[in-house]
């Protein structure tokens, strides 16, 4: 055994993991029901997966008796990172056991892509999948969107202590983790409530439109979580309906807003939302990029209908900035400038505390304000400048943390891209895939013209990309800290 044994409270970690796996098994019951309704062969895949997950989880809780209950920072980080891997490992079972079995690499990639709401897929065509698998893919995104840990905090009262706090901090995105209520379980409940209500509303709105019930459920799940899995090969384009696009644009947009702010807006102070610097920036970026898109489309002569200068670019922008990764039909023809803008949108993503990926607009704000200060200081070296967000001065430690984050983020994209080129993927595609995965956008490799899905990437590459997705979803530090020696050393 390693000498670190007493440092981390492993029995407690495993026990909590057991609880969480039972929750995952409970979620698997939904696709199981779907397979019963549609009388599909995958019924057995889901039955076996649910039983395995449930039994392993239950036995872990029942037979592991931790001597001490407390969980500190280390356990918080480790558990959070571990849970996401464990969920993907068990979440891939239905894919492996299904009628058209996936390889382990493919299944793990698909599951990780689901939970991290990346929405990258190894399937060239999704339409042959059973209803059960479709629902499971979207459900994975929905759970991962708001956060596995956050869900657990809302439902398991036992984690309502400082150990739960550590997990909350390790999972929730953003620079500072604003609590909306004093206790972490109340915060988790509040956030999930907003999330569930929005999802239900979206589902109803889509169902009213041209979608059937099953498709609207799946799309509601993957839109609200800004994941991007679809039940159709042509994605949202399959319906060719402005109504669907408008509704989905609105909800993807909401999915990119800090849920804490949404909660406050719903519970009585909507003005907070409008006065929030990040939210204002979010709106500004979307409007600016929209103008640029429209101009480019007009110059390139791609105005095919009224929707190609209105809802189509808007849909594409919101889908990219919120890291959803749906694409509209003519996107590839809009030119390389649009593609460049897409890079920028992907890099920063939407607001922290939302279901979106990327480095978050909050960090961009810090970076820009700090840059402005530094430039100003070149001429006025004695000027005292501070980074002010929402009217409050941010300590310089936080600013340097943000900058460290952004450097690390770029470094990881570089490393990921270089590793992918080593296994024979063309340069641009290698970097684009790494970028797309770490920002949890999951825009297909197809965008750059290399294959039509991630299937073409060799197995090693799929594991590398899965790791990148996890690192990106947990905002770098939670995962990377596990690879440091000081984490494990006594």
């Amino acid at each position: 055994m390693f000498r670190v044994h007493s440092r981390v409270n492993f029995p407690m970690l495993l026990r909590v993991t057991g609880w969480l796996m039972m929750i995952e098994a409970a979620f698997m019951v939904f696709p199981l029901i779907a397979t019963i309704i549609y009388q599909e062969v995958d019924f057995y895949a889901f039955l076996v997966s649910t039983i395995i997950t449930g039994v392993v989880g239950a036995s872990m809780t029942a037979f592991i008796e931790p001597s001490r209950m407390e969980m500190a920072k280390r356990e918080g980080f480790l558990l959070t990172a571990m849970i996401w891997v464990v969920f993907s490992v068990f979440g891939m079972l239905p894919f492996i056991l299904s009628e058209t079995p996936f390889t382990i690499s493919d299944a793990f990639f698909e599951a990780m892509s689901g939970f991290t709401t990346t929405g990258a897929t190894i399937l060239n065509s999704v339409e042959h999948l059973s209803h059960g698998l479709h629902l499971w893919r979207c459900l994975m995104q929905w759970i991962g969107g708001m956060g596995i840990i956050l869900f657990t905090l809302a439902v398991i009262p036992m984690l309502n202590h400082s150990g739960g706090m550590q997990m909350f901090n390790a999972e929730v995105t953003g620079i500072t983790h604003d609590k909306i209520r004093p206790r972490v379980s109340q915060t988790a409940k509040g956030l999930w409530l907003v999330y569930i209500l929005l999802s239900v509303l979206l589902c109803v709105l889509l169902w009213v439109g041209p979608m059937n019930f099953f498709d609207s459920v799946c799309h509601a799940l993957s839109t609200m979580s800004t994941g991007g899995f679809s039940t159709k090969d042509a994605s949202v384009g399959a319906w060719n309906s402005a109504y669907v696009k408008i509704i989905m644009t609105i909800f993807m947009f909401l999915g990119g807003v800090n849920f804490g702010l949404l909660f406050k807006a719903c519970t009585g102070s909507p003005s907070d939302l409008l006065h929030n610097d990040t939210f204002k920036m979010y709106l500004k970026i979307i409007s600016l990029v929209f103008a640029l898109f429209v101009i480019t489309i007009v110059i390139n002569g791609q105005v095919l209908s009224i929707s190609s200068v209105t809802i189509d670019p808007l849909f594409q922008i919101v889908s990219t900035i919120t890291s959803t990764g749906y694409t509209v039909t003519d996107f590839e023809n809009w030119g390389t400038f649009v593609l460049a803008m897409v890079f920028v949108l992907m890099f920063f993503g939407a607001c922290a505390g939302s279901t979106s990926g990327g480095a978050k607009i909050d960090r961009m704000l810090y970076l820009l304000k700090n840059l402005r200060n530094e430039i100003h200081k070149c001429i006025h070296p004695n000027a005292i400048m501070s980074v002010r967000i929402n009217g409050k001065i941010m300590p310089s430690e936080i600013v340097s943390k943000v900058i460290a984050f952004l450097c690390l983020y770029v470094l990881l994209i570089m490393t990921g891209g270089i590793v992918l080129t080593a296994i024979g993927i063309p340069l641009v595609d290698a970097f684009f895939s790494a970028f797309s995965c770490i920002s949890n956008t999951g825009l297909g490799a197809g965008v750059t013209g290399y294959g039509s899905s991630y299937e073409i990437i060799p197995d090693v590459g799929k594991w590398v990309l899965s790791l990148l997705m996890l690192i990106g979803r947990l905002e770098l530090f939670t995962v990377l800290i596990l690879f440091t020696r000081s984490f494990w050393r006594k």
Partner: protein
């Protein structure tokens, strides 16, 4: 219960941490973002940056629907103002920490009540009172009175001359019926003893007794009560001033301080005490001031370390009772292991006091005192709660708690194995830190 605490200083953050482990909604407000950041990231509570007397900050904290508002910033004026504002916003109860004795005087109470300040906490005064209790009962380490003194909790450190040494608790329960051994503190660890636990030398025993039987403990613990006449105080702090004010007519007090300015100003407030300018850490000074004839030595300087060491020195000179103020909570357990009689900590005293206020404000979640790693709660039994379902010994209570005593119809009594607890009883429960949830389940 929703509690807003303003001021993340030592008392504020200690309270916030303690309360966050209970089922309380805590919002901690402070001007200093750095102080808040560490607490926010590690404890189950919400923090808010803002001035204690800012309308926006108080509104953001949701003061209008909070059950208890606690202002414990270092400045009494901000505390009083903040409480007044909070009360106007709609806070149910307000508590302000003050450091001016005048505010505590009874005839000035109405003024504060009219302002909207319900309770005043003066930690230095609490400390002085605590020292008085210790001086009156020299053999006791801890002395807590519960429910108007009907039940008393006594902590005693056992030496090798105590009759109890080597006995198992089950032997005790047949011979003695007047006390209950509720907890034992042994080597930095608090244990809830069972029948087969044996009492050892240097254990600190926490007894629960009814008020008529306190004196029985003296004999079985091998203690004698010393009469205190001369008290030497090291450090002319505010606690010393308050202590002098309380005890000048009872004891002969001598205060040693090494700050000339302090010494010059002290006679005005402590007219009957003798003031000496000098360093109490200097053995010659102590000899000159007659340390050999002193009955009690109280170390109240700013430095916890100096206080501990000075008390040890005084012990060597044969002083019977030494009392040290120790402000670093981490040091308390160490200091208790040494031969220092009583340890005073303003933070713990202030938080205990606020716990009691909580008890008054919300009868259902009763809290009272927090020892280093154990808690004593006074719970009111609700009808049909689990605890009333049979004799105590048949309830299979968990090992980290014990029921010490109860008050029924205003009369204190001890709890035995075959006692049946009834609804409406006030029950005193000892539990280890973290077990309070289990206790609450039993009573609700």
């Amino acid at each position: 219960m929703k509690i807003v605490i303003v001021g993340a200083g030592e008392v504020g953050s200690h309270l916030a941490k303690l309360l966050s482990r209970e089922e309380q909604d805590i919002i901690l407000v402070d001007k200093d973002a750095d102080k808040l950041a560490a607490i926010d990231a590690n404890y189950n509570l919400m923090t808010l940056r803002g001035s204690p007397t800012s309308f926006t900050a108080l509104r953001d904290a949701g003061v209008e629907n909070c059950d208890l508002f606690i202002a414990v910033t270092p400045y009494e004026t901000s505390n009083v103002t903040a409480c007044a504002m909070a009360k106007k916003f709609g806070a149910k109860k307000t508590v302000a920490r003050i450091d001016n004795y005048e505010f505590m005087v009874e005839q000035n109470r109405d003024f504060f009540t009219s302002l909207g300040v319900d309770y005043l906490i003066y930690p230095e005064y609490l400390a002085a009172q605590e020292i008085m209790t210790a001086l009156e009962r020299t053999w006791v380490r801890h002395w807590f009175e519960l429910h108007n003194g009907e039940i008393i909790l006594v902590g005693v450190k056992l030496r090798d001359n105590a009759r109890l040494i080597g006995m198992q608790l089950k032997d005790l329960s047949y011979t003695q019926q007047t006390f209950h051994v509720s907890a034992i503190k042994r080597n930095h660890e608090t244990i809830i003893p069972r029948g087969d636990d044996r009492i050892r030398v240097n254990d600190i025993l926490y007894f629960t007794v009814t008020k008529d039987h306190v004196d029985d403990l003296l004999e079985i613990c091998g203690k004698t009560q010393y009469e205190i006449k001369k008290v030497l105080i090291m450090g002319g702090s505010r606690i010393a001033e308050r202590l002098a004010a309380l005890a000048e007519d009872k004891y002969k007090i001598k205060i040693i301080d090494n700050n000339l300015e302090v010494c010059k100003s002290l006679p005005e407030r402590c007219p009957d005490s003798e003031i000496v300018y000098g360093d109490a850490r200097d053995i010659d000074v102590l000899r000159e001031e007659g340390i050999e004839d002193i009955d009690a030595f109280v170390a109240l300087s700013e430095s916890s370390e100096a206080n501990i060491l000075a008390c040890l020195t005084a012990k060597e000179f044969g002083v019977n009772k030494t009392i040290a103020e120790v402000e670093n909570i981490q040091f308390i357990s160490e200091a208790e292991g040494l031969n220092i009689g009583t340890i005073i900590n303003k933070k713990l005293l202030a938080s205990s006091k606020i716990f009691q206020i909580l008890l008054d404000a919300d009868i259902n979640s009763s809290k009272c005192l927090a020892l280093a790693d154990a808690e004593v709660a006074e719970m009111v039994v609700k009808p049909h709660s689990k605890i009333t379902k049979g004799a105590v010994k048949d309830l299979n209570l968990s090992r980290d708690m014990t029921i010490a005593g109860l008050v029924r119809d205003g009369k204190g009594m001890l709890v035995r194995g075959n006692t049946v607890i009834q609804a409406g009883d006030h029950v005193v429960v000892f539990c280890l830190a973290g077990a309070i949830h289990k206790v609450e389940k039993l009573f609700n």
